[in-house]
């Protein structure tokens, strides 16, 4: 075995001088012996190699266009075997690379390793740092999720403010005035082509120069010299493994997140740059108005220029001290700004709202809410994309726009929440806290059509509460102009009714509620409605006039309402009450004879015209609101399977 191998090596050596190459590469002298403090440069190379490998494999799946970018990343994350691992490695190694760069940089300055004859090492190193930051910035956009989209948008928007060519540069980077396909293709070409090529080139130079001048030994007298192979290589490898362990731990523990697909029409209000750019983000807040170019360009520009000049500044002892001071200032300052940015964003979670801090508190609360909402949205889109219908060719955004669960609350918030309340009175859901209206001027729509909700209309106490007719300015209570329903319920179960009869009436009302609720045909109550067919049939009889025998007043629902066999009585018509069609017709024009007629109290008509251009809401939006109110949206059969990314 040895001899053939030897002859192959000899053959190669004759032609390419491999022995010298290998010797030079491996038997480099390490003055003072191998040390842990020399590992940072090598870990960076290892990090880059990881990025190149994982990057190329991701490239084999990734598809840069606005209808496929998020979708292909979703596919990596949820469909490819081990895709989450591949993407996680790439995601977290990118972040760790920034940390390693910072460590490497601090060490070089601290040790004065940038001084002659190593100026060029330093300059190539600085360029490498900028290239890596460029890779991070471009990479952040590629998954085309809300977070990356909006954060990058703010970034390029700022860049466009650069003096002279800013606006043109932004247009070139973005590939037009707006973000779109061309932005992705350009960013991807930078991310996977141009920048890596630059990185390889400068890294080659950097390592070559490093070898030329030898390792910068901290104290060469410390011990006997050794060679790079195997002593230092062992230490480097152990360090590389350590770095990998951290990345793996982060991947397994947190996983690379994927927000919901970028939606140009719905800004993500919690858009923040990646954590290592946060200090810049925070720094900008110090520069109001036109001073911004100082914060965004002039000061950072000066700092980077000074950094490039460090080898020359550091020639004298005083210069070196200046460099070290600047280093401390930069890193200390960045750490402080980063902490401040994080604190500002989480302010409301850590403080009480007071008179003085309210602006700060509200801003932070808005941020946290937006973030939480975005996380829920992201989970939901994944659920939809994993559903049997999968993602349509128009992209995942189509799923988002067509989903009552996602769009309902947004449309409701915009069009209904000003008057209505939406909250479970018994058990408020903190996830829906943003839909609560503390001072409603219309009924509570939570659980609309359910037996529970309908029962409230027939309960003297509940109908008088703000959740039904007791809302502010209601004309439907006993002193209002349309108190018939209210008075009917209160008289039916008034003080003079004795306990035994009260019990009978309540039972009758329960049957009525069950029957009326069955009209809604809610999918959540489907099984129950089937099971209670007899109860419902009894309830229908009661509504159609049977109640007259139960109530002392001899009144019944169909004295006033149209229902079942009792047609053309009056409104609101209870046939199909709170069914999908009833609601759609109702929202279109609530003042219709079938609904409130002249009694209508402020409930707007959202689509009264045949010509859709004249209407406030188009049919699609109405359907989304109605389906959401009725709880009709896709639910995975095995909820656990949908969240396997967690």
């Amino acid at each position: 075995m040895i001899t053939p191998l030897r002859s192959v090596i000899d053959w190669l050596d004759d032609r390419a001088g491999v022995r010298d190459l290998v010797n030079e590469a491996l038997y480099e002298n390490v003055p003072g012996g191998a040390r842990w403090r020399y590992v940072w440069g090598s870990t960076l190379v290892m990090a880059f190699v990881t990025q190149a490998i994982t990057g190329i494999f991701l490239w084999m799946v990734y598809s840069p266009s606005t209808q496929t970018a998020w979708e292909s990343v979703f596919f990596v994350e949820h469909s490819l075997t081990g895709g989450w691992l591949l993407r996680g490695l790439h995601h977290y190694m990118a972040q760790l690379m920034i940390v390693l760069l910072a460590l490497h940089f601090i060490q070089i300055i601290w040790d004065g390793a940038y001084r002659a004859p190593r100026e060029l090492n330093f300059l190539t190193g600085m360029i490498l740092m900028l290239v890596v930051l460029g890779l991070s910035f471009t990479g952040y956009l590629l998954p085309w999720d809300q977070k990356g989209y909006w954060a990058t948008n703010v970034g390029t928007e700022l860049a466009s403010q650069a003096p002279l060519a800013g606006a043109a540069l932004k247009k070139l980077a973005v590939g037009g005035s707006d973000y779109g396909h061309q932005t992705l293709t350009r960013f991807f070409a930078l991310h996977a082509g141009v920048l890596p090529a630059l990185l390889v080139g400068f890294l080659g130079l950097h390592v070559l120069l490093m070898r030329r001048h030898g390792l910068h030994a901290k104290d060469p007298e410390r011990g006997p010299d050794c060679t790079f192979w195997p002593d230092q290589v062992l230490k480097d490898s152990v360090a590389a493994l350590g770095v990998l362990a951290v990345v793996l731990a982060l991947t397994v523990w947190k996983g690379a997140e994927l927000g919901s697909p970028a939606d140009p029409a719905n800004p993500y209000n919690a858009a923040r740059p990646e954590w290592y750019f946060l200090f810049l983000f925070q720094f900008l807040k110090w520069f109001p108005g036109e001073l911004e170019i100082w914060g965004a360009f002039i000061i950072p520009g000066v700092v980077v220029t000074v950094m490039f000049l460090m080898p020359w500044i550091g020639r004298s002892r005083a210069g070196h001290i200046f460099n070290v001071m600047l280093l401390i200032l930069l890193f200390g300052g960045s750490a402080y700004l980063t902490a401040q940015a994080l604190y500002d964003d989480n302010f409301s979670a850590m403080n009480e709202r007071t008179e003085e801090n309210q602006a700060r508190y509200d801003a932070s609360q808005a941020f946290l809410n937006a973030k939480q909402e975005a996380e829920r949205d992201a989970e939901r889109v994944v659920e939809l994309a994993l559903s049997p219908t999968r993602i349509p060719p128009t992209g995942a955004l189509t799923l988002v726009y067509g989903d009552p669960f996602l769009q309902g609350p947004k449309l409701y918030k915009q069009h209904c929440a000003g008057c209505h309340n939406y909250v479970d009175p018994a058990d408020p859901d903190p996830n829906l806290a943003h839909l609560v209206n503390p001072a409603p001027t219309a009924p509570n729509l939570y659980g609309l059509g359910t037996r529970e909700w309908i029962g409230g209309w027939l309960d003297p106490e509940r109908i008088a509460s703000k959740h039904y007719f007791g809302y502010q300015g209601s004309p439907f209570t006993s002193d209002g102009r349309n108190s018939e329903m209210f008075d009917f319920v209160h008289e039916s179960l008034g003080e003079e009714v004795d306990d035994e009869q009260r019990q009978t009436i309540k039972e009758a009302f329960q049957k009525v509620a069950a029957a009326l609720s069955a009209e809604a045909g809610l999918s959540s109550q489907h099984a129950q409605d089937l099971a209670d067919a007899d109860l419902i049939a009894e309830g229908r009889k009661l509504i159609e006039g049977g109640l007259a025998d139960v109530l002392d007043s001899g009144a019944s629902c169909t004295d006033c309402h149209t229902f079942g066999e009792m047609q053309d009585i009056g409104s609101p018509v209870l046939d199909g009450y709170m069914s999908r069609q009833w609601l759609l017709d109702f929202l279109s024009y609530p003042a219709d004879e079938r609904f409130y007629g002249e009694m209508n109290d402020r409930m707007p008509a959202f689509a009264p015209h045949d010509d859709p251009r004249m209407n406030q809401l188009e049919q699609k939006s109405l359907e989304l609101i109605v389906d959401w109110l009725r709880g009709d949206w896709y639910r995975p059969e095995h909820p656990a399977a949908a969240s396997d990314s967690e």
Binding site: T66, W150, N153, V154, E157, L158, S160, Q161, A167, A168, K171, L172, V174, G175, G176, S177, D178, G180, H181, Q182, P264, A265, N266, P267, N269, A270, A271, L284, K285, F287, P288, G289, E290, E292, I293, A359, D362, A363, A366, F367, A370, Q414, G418, H609, D611, R613, M614, Q616
Partner: protein, 197 residues
């Protein structure tokens, strides 16, 4: 690879020198021609976006009746056809405006929701007396002016958009008034308004 020492040596013999000058010149020209042509072709394609101008669309955003004269801003999405490279998306949300009207007789005022600072979407909660931007905490009064003047990170007040009212006859003979705006996209970060286009 050029050989500099030889070039110097040849200075003693002028004809040689001239020939090598021509050689060098020709080598540079042909070499540059061979490499720069593809580069140029690439650059021209790459610079295309700078040559394209975009127009601000005229958009119908609301019915006049949807903007009560109570001085409270109402939010309306701006829906227009959007083009993206090889796709055309009919009737997409491209942004949003706030319309408000002080008095039933007054014409509506339109503000784009895009923050003049860094382009985030300015928010408005009903009941507030301020517009608030969620990104860098700029805030604006309901007349669009910056609430803290030049202290504010935003370099200018909210951008107003030109509004036009159009009367439309319906089939039944009645007519409605529509609110149209010219949805202009302004550059962010400057004291003055510049259109992006």
């Amino acid at each position: 690879m050029a050989n500099p020492p030889q070039l110097q040596d040849s200075s003693s013999s002028p004809p040689e020198n001239r020939r090598s000058f021509i050689t060098v010149f020709a080598a540079i020209i042909t070499g540059a021609g061979a490499t720069l042509t593809p580069l140029l072709a690439g650059l021209v394609a790459f610079f295309t976006p700078l040559l394209r101008k975009s127009k601000s669309p005229q958009v119908r955003v609301a019915l006049l009746s949807q903007v009560p004269g109570d001085g409270i801003p109402r939010y309306f999405p701006v829906v227009a056809d959007r083009e993206d490279a090889w796709n055309r998306y009919p009737q997409q949300r491209v942004g949003a405006v706030y319309l408000l009207r002080s008095g039933e007789a007054a014409d509506p005022i339109a503000y784009t929701a895009k923050c003049p600072h860094a382009g985030c979407q300015i928010g408005y909660q009903s009941g507030d007396n301020l517009f608030k931007c969620p990104c860098h905490t700029s805030s604006f009064n309901l007349d669009g002016s910056r609430s803290r003047g030049d202290e504010e990170v935003s370099p200018r007040d909210m951008d107003r958009l030109p509004v036009e009212l159009r009367n439309v006859e319906l089939d039944g003979g009645e007519s409605v008034t529509e609110v149209w705006v010219e949805y202009i996209d302004f550059q962010t970060g400057h004291k003055e308004q510049h259109r992006t286009a």
